[in-house]
Symmetry: C2
Subunit: 399 residues, 2 copies
């Protein structure tokens, strides 16, 4: 990772303006984030171009300008970028030196490689945040059982081991009670970080966006609920969060966006600890699961905001459209559900629930969609969102 620049000199720009003379935005990655960004792009008169792994990718199914190629191939990235006024991402998996190469060749990449590195490498992120005086859990890189033992001696068991790069949705995270449990992880050959297991009250997320001009905007802070390391529910705004704590979290996220030079959406995943302080858990520099509620729940969705930010347009209003918004992820269950039939039943039961399906093949535990409920009563909104996601997954109303 890091500064392995391979300079390309003559990347020709083919046609970076689309219909109505508006700029073409290219998004690397064909997942649901691209898919939902495409919906927002359509309203803005834009033609989102997508670099997808395959034609059946979530976004590739619904966008017109799809290029199939590898996000790990400089040639593919260059060919794709030649058609785009700005290139952005729906995941963090493009190697940093390839992004730097595109930048050297004059491509407008947002967020840039120097910022994005902090969402790609947890060790770099932790060290930078520590240097900035931002609270993070106690951590150390570990390469051996001895180092892990030393870390645990100071910070206690269990210890959280994290792959420094490449993890997502609970993958690349292991909670270990002793050295023996950690041995297979230590032997796997991935660069590891040890973190103190922090007793949590709950998890929060502060989602903001920032433009190259330096304008930034924050949505209300949300509570995120995880199961097996996967986000299953997001509540906006975080219930019972004091105004002071909310402002602290937003200010922290806005400061990080500025300090790291983020362009686009920045999601700051936070721990609210039992001792009541906030710690930064993870950063994401793209539309994020904790912001899906904004599609119906905020005047400007995170997908529209990400586009506005990377295009250096003034940002949109982040005010909520209802007092409470709850988003529940739809995870794949066992077998192929008859989603057509289940949609009939769900829509009959709750005509105000908003359903988002990603066009993805159903696999156990995979995020294949989400539902959003909005209203005045938190208990009611929460129950509706949970029931909707549970029914689509299982075909049952009991939970």
């Amino acid at each position: 990772m890091g500064a392995a620049f391979s300079v390309t000199t003559s990347l020709s720009r083919v046609a970076t303006l689309g219909a109505m003379g508006l700029p073409v935005v290219g998004m690397v990655g064909g997942g649901q984030l691209s898919r939902m960004t495409h919906q927002a792009a359509i309203a803005l008169g834009l033609s989102l171009r997508v670099l997808a792994d395959a034609t059946h990718d979530s976004a590739a199914l619904v966008a017109n300008g799809v290029t199939v190629g590898s996000h790990e191939s400089l040639a593919d990235l260059e060919a794709f970028a030649a058609h785009c006024e700005v290139v952005t991402f729906d995941h963090e998996h493009v190697p940093g030196h390839l992004i730097a190469s595109l930048e050297s060749a004059g491509v407008n990449v947002q967020p840039g490689s120097k910022a994005l590195l902090h969402a790609q490498d947890k060790q770099v992120m932790r060290e930078r945040l520590q240097a900035l005086g931002v609270p993070v859990p106690p951590f150390a890189p570990v390469t051996s059982a001895a180092e892990l033992q030393a870390f645990a001696q100071e910070h206690g068991w269990p210890v959280v081991l994290k792959a420094a790069t490449g993890g997502y949705d609970g993958k690349g995270v292991w909670v270990v009670e002793n050295v023996e449990q950690a041995l297979p992880v230590l032997a796997a050959g991935v660069r590891l970080l040890a973190e103190q297991f922090v007793p949590l009250r709950r998890e929060l997320a502060a989602v903001v966006a920032r433009s190259p001009y330096g304008q930034a905007a924050a949505w209300p802070v949300v509570e995120t609920v995880q199961a097996d390391g996967i986000c299953v529910e997001v509540v906006a705004p975080a219930p019972g969060l004091s105004e002071d704590r909310a402002v602290e979290a937003q200010a922290l996220a806005l400061r990080l966006a500025d300090e790291l030079g983020v362009v686009g959406v920045l999601a700051v995943e936070l721990f609210e600890t039992v001792s009541d302080g906030l710690l930064v858990n993870e950063l994401a520099m793209r539309p994020h699961n904790s912001g899906h509620w904004t599609i119906e729940g905020a005047r400007t969705s995170q997908f529209e905001q990400h586009l506005r930010a990377v295009l250096d347009y003034p940002l949109g209003a982040t005010t909520m459209t209802a007092p409470w918004v709850v988003m529940a992820n739809l995870l794949g269950g066992d077998g192929e559900p008859d989603l057509d039939r289940r949609l009939h039943m769900l829509f009959a039961r709750d005509p105000a629930l908003k359903v988002h399906l990603y066009g993805k093949q159903v696999k156990p535990g995979r995020k294949i969609g989400h539902v959003t409920a909005l209203g005045d009563d938190l208990a009611d909104v929460t129950a509706r969102a949970r029931a909707g996601a549970h029914y689509l997954r299982t075909g049952r109303w009991d939970q």
Copy 2:
């Protein structure tokens, strides 16, 4: 028009289920209504297929499943329909006998040819509504100066002449003060209807949707403002409309949807006359300009609702998301505007305004987008919507 059935017997269905086993909806016509329906389809996990005239059509620019072909060619329609679980329309220009042929071949077409005829032929519509006891302006088919003179003798000048088929956005409508003014229209060889020129208080629209199962849902009645026969502004709900009058308009639209067997969105354009009664002006059986405000302004947009209706899904909630919603159409002005620059300026001035651009070539008077403002104060919301559309059109804040 009408019953010229040309029966096709063996239309093979190729693959009418898309990703996640969900049905493929095909929309004939590649305009902005298809474009915005595609946005709604993406959320529902669907792959909207579009039969477009050209690859640069508004919807063709942003959808993946685009077929270029003619909506007046049975072969093109059949080939398109073979891939669709249900076929619907973004305009009324598919000849009725071709739709009937598709139906005879077993294609699920919604709305069906028998219903759609009432949105295609004003004479058929007027006669049917009259038979149903629904109030319409006094009218008569006219084929000669003598018939027009006789009509005017009874109902007074001016007289409104309308082409029975094919008109839109003020095209195909002539207000004439005497027979002499009408001579060129009478000589044009189009089938004509004469209508009394009714003194109006204002125009309203009642937009509803109906499913094959017979479920129906109505949005609040809106006021529509026209200039030169083109809708320029829609206010939801219609200001100062009494509850009785609103219920009367909704009940009328729901009754028509049922009597005519409409499936999908039905927009009923209404005259509120000076003498205070309601008259039906026009019918449209598809998402309609008077319903664009529902994208942000109602829990279920007309585009999602149209899809739910044609798929026979239970319909979505039509409650408003704000007390007042005003939509202003963006019409093309003189010359090519620098829309990229204007978006910057507009977004800086009004971060809460929602902009929709259709990707269409800018021509004077052409609908190329719309803006929507929402809020608690009607005067403020109206001013913001008007200012936004005016600025995008002219580059000036004065009006």
